[in-house]
C-alpha cells in the first residue's frame, strides 16, 4: 500500500475515533455544555428568524449551487442541517420558509427536511412541496432567480449556507441590501467568502459554515465533531511547522 494512502486511511480513522469519542462525552455532559467561540452570524440568527416569524414574512434558506454526489456534498449537508434546525421555528410564520437550490437531489433532501419539520409540528396540512425549489439550473440563472425572489416572496431574511460562486453570491447580497433584507451567508470557497465578507450583513468565514449544527442546535455529535476538528487542526498546524523547520534545516 502506498504511504500516501496509508497516511490518508490513518487520518480518517483517527478523525472517526476522535469524533465518536467527543460525541460520547458531549452526550454525557449535556448539563455542562461546551463553551463555543462567539460567531456573530449564529448569535444573531435567532433574531433574524424571530423577526421573520413576528412580521409574518418568509425566511429564505439557500443551499447555493451545492450538489449531492459532487465535491460540495458536505456543504450541502451542512446547509440541510441548518435548514432542519431553523425551519422548525420559521415554519410557525404565516408564510412558510422557502428553500432554494440549484440541484435536484439537494431539492429533494430539502423537501424531506421541511416535511419532517411539519410532521413533528403536526401541521402537515401547511406543508407545501414547492417551498423547496430549484431556482435555477446554472449558477448565473440561480443568482438571477435569487435577485427576484427576495422581492417577490416577501423575504424577511436570507440564509445562504452552501456552495456559491462569486456571481450568485454578490447578486443575492445586493438584492438583499436594496430590499433591506438581512443576509447571513457562508460558502466553502475562500474567494466567495471574501466577497461575502464585504457584501453580506453576517458573513461566515472558513469552516464556520459547517458549525451550524453545534451553534444553533447544540447537537451532541456536532459539538463532538467541532472538538475533533480542533484537535486535528492543532495536529496539522504542528505538523506544518515541523515540516517547515525540518525542510529548512535539511536545506
Amino acid at each position: 500500500m502506498e504511504l500516501q494512502r496509508l497516511l490518508g486511511l490513518g487520518f480518517v480513522l483517527l478523525f472517526a475515533a476522535l469524533l465518536a469519542g467527543f460525541t460520547f462525552v458531549a452526550r454525557r455532559n449535556r448539563a455542562r455544555p461546551r463553551v463555543l467561540r462567539d460567531i456573530e452570524a449564529f448569535r444573531t440568527l435567532p433574531t433574524t428568524v424571530g423577526q421573520a416569524v413576528e412580521t409574518g414574512r418568509r425566511l429564505h434558506i439557500s443551499l447555493g449551487t451545492s450538489a449531492i454526489g459532487e465535491r460540495d456534498t458536505a456543504t450541502a449537508l451542512a446547509g440541510l442541517t441548518v435548514l432542519d434546525l431553523v425551519s422548525a421555528e420559521a415554519a410557525m410564520s404565516d408564510k412558510p420558509p422557502v428553500i432554494t437550490t440549484a440541484d435536484g437531489a439537494a431539492m429533494l433532501l430539502a423537501q424531506d427536511a421541511l416535511h419532517r419539520v411539519y410532521e413533528r409540528q403536526n401541521a402537515l396540512r401547511r406543508y407545501d412541496p414547492t417551498s423547496a425549489r430549484v431556482a435555477g439550473l446554472s449558477a448565473i440563472s440561480f443568482g438571477a432567480a435569487l435577485t427576484a425572489m427576495v422581492k417577490d416572496e416577501s423575504v424577511a431574511g436570507t440564509i445562504l449556507i452552501g456552495s456559491a460562486g462569486a456571481a450568485e453570491a454578490v447578486l443575492m447580497t445586493e438584492a438583499g441590501q436594496r430590499s433591506h433584507v438581512a443576509t447571513l451567508a457562508g460558502a466553502d470557497d475562500p474567494s466567495t467568502q471574501a466577497l461575502l465578507f464585504a457584501a453580506a450583513d453576517q458573513p461566515l468565514v472558513g469552516e464556520d459554515v459547517y458549525a451550524g449544527g453545534a451553534y444553533i442546535g447544540r447537537l451532541a455529535h456536532h459539538l463532538g465533531s467541532l472538538q475533533a476538528q480542533d484537535v486535528l487542526r492543532i495536529i496539522i498546524g504542528l505538523a506544518i511547522v515541523a515540516g517547515v523547520v525540518f525542510k529548512t534545516l535539511v536545506r
Partner: protein
C-alpha cells in the same frame, strides 16, 4: 414500525455504501474496488437524473406561480416558455434537416450564443459593479479593525496586480538592476498573507468536509430521514 424499518434500512444502505467506497479507495482489495466502481457509477447515474428532477421542479414552481398570479408571475411565463421551447426544438430537431442533431445543432447554438452567452456575460459584468459598491460602503456598515484591514489590502492588491502604465512612475527599490520595485514589494506583502490565509481557510474547510462525511458514515447525521 414500518417507519423504523425504513429508516434502519436506509441507514444500513448509506453507511454500507459509504464504507465500501471509502475503504475501496484506500485499500487495494479487488472486491472493494469493483464494488466501489459499481457504486460510483450508480451515483453518477443518479446525478444525471437529478438534473431532470430539478428541471421538473422548476417547471412546477413557475406553473404554480403563473396560475396563482403570485408576485413576479410575468417572468414565470418566460421561464416556462423558454424551457418548453428549448425542449420542443430539440425534440423536433431530428426531423428538421436544417437544424441538425445532437446538442450542437444549429438551434441550440443560436440560443447559446445569442441568449446564454449574452446574458451570462452581462450578469457577470454587473458583479463588478456590485463588488465595488459593496466595498465602497463597507466601513459605513461595519467599522472595525478587520474591515479596515480588509479595505487596505483590497486597495493595495488592486494597485499591485494591475498592469502599470509606463507613464506612471514606478519607484525602484533595492540596489542594482535587480532591485525590486515598489510594486514588487507590495505584491509580496499582499500575496503572502492572503495566500496563507486562504490556505488556512482551505484546511479548515477540508476538516469540516471530512467531519461532515464521517458523521454520515457513522450514522450520527441522517439527512435521508430519521
Amino acid at each position: 414500525m414500518t417507519r423504523r424499518l425504513t429508516t434502519l434500512l436506509a441507514t444500513i444502505i448509506a453507511v454500507g455504501a459509504g464504507l465500501v467506497t471509502l475503504f475501496g479507495y484506500f485499500l487495494d482489495v479487488p472486491l472493494l474496488g469493483t464494488l466501489r466502481g459499481l457504486l460510483v457509477g450508480w451515483a453518477a447515474l443518479l446525478a444525471g437524473v437529478a438534473v431532470w428532477v430539478g428541471a421538473i421542479n422548476l417547471l412546477l414552481v413557475h406553473s404554480k406561480k403563473l396560475t396563482t398570479q403570485a408576485p413576479g408571475w410575468l417572468y414565470s411565463i418566460f421561464v416556462i416558455l423558454g424551457l418548453l421551447g428549448v425542449v420542443a426544438v430539440n425534440v423536433l430537431a431530428p426531423f428538421i434537416p436544417e437544424i441538425g442533431t445532437g446538442p450542437s445543432n444549429a438551434a441550440n447554438q443560436w440560443i447559446f450564443q445569442s441568449l446564454q452567452i449574452t446574458l451570462g456575460t452581462a450578469l457577470a459584468g454587473m458583479v463588478f459593479f456590485f463588488l465595488v459598491l459593496a466595498g465602497y460602503r463597507l466601513l459605513r456598515r461595519r467599522l472595525s479593525v478587520v474591515t479596515v484591514t480588509f479595505v487596505i489590502v483590497a486597495v493595495v492588491s488592486l494597485v499591485v496586480l494591475t498592469p502599470w502604465p509606463p507613464e506612471i512612475p514606478n519607484p525602484v527599490l533595492g540596489v542594482g538592476s535587480e532591485g525590486g520595485t515598489l510594486r514588487d514589494l507590495l505584491r509580496a506583502l499582499t500575496l503572502v498573507p492572503a495566500l496563507a490565509g486562504a490556505r488556512g481557510l482551505l484546511l479548515g474547510i477540508a476538516l469540516g468536509v471530512v467531519a461532515t462525511g464521517l458523521r454520515v458514515l457513522l450514522a450520527l447525521d441522517r439527512p435521508y430521514g430519521e
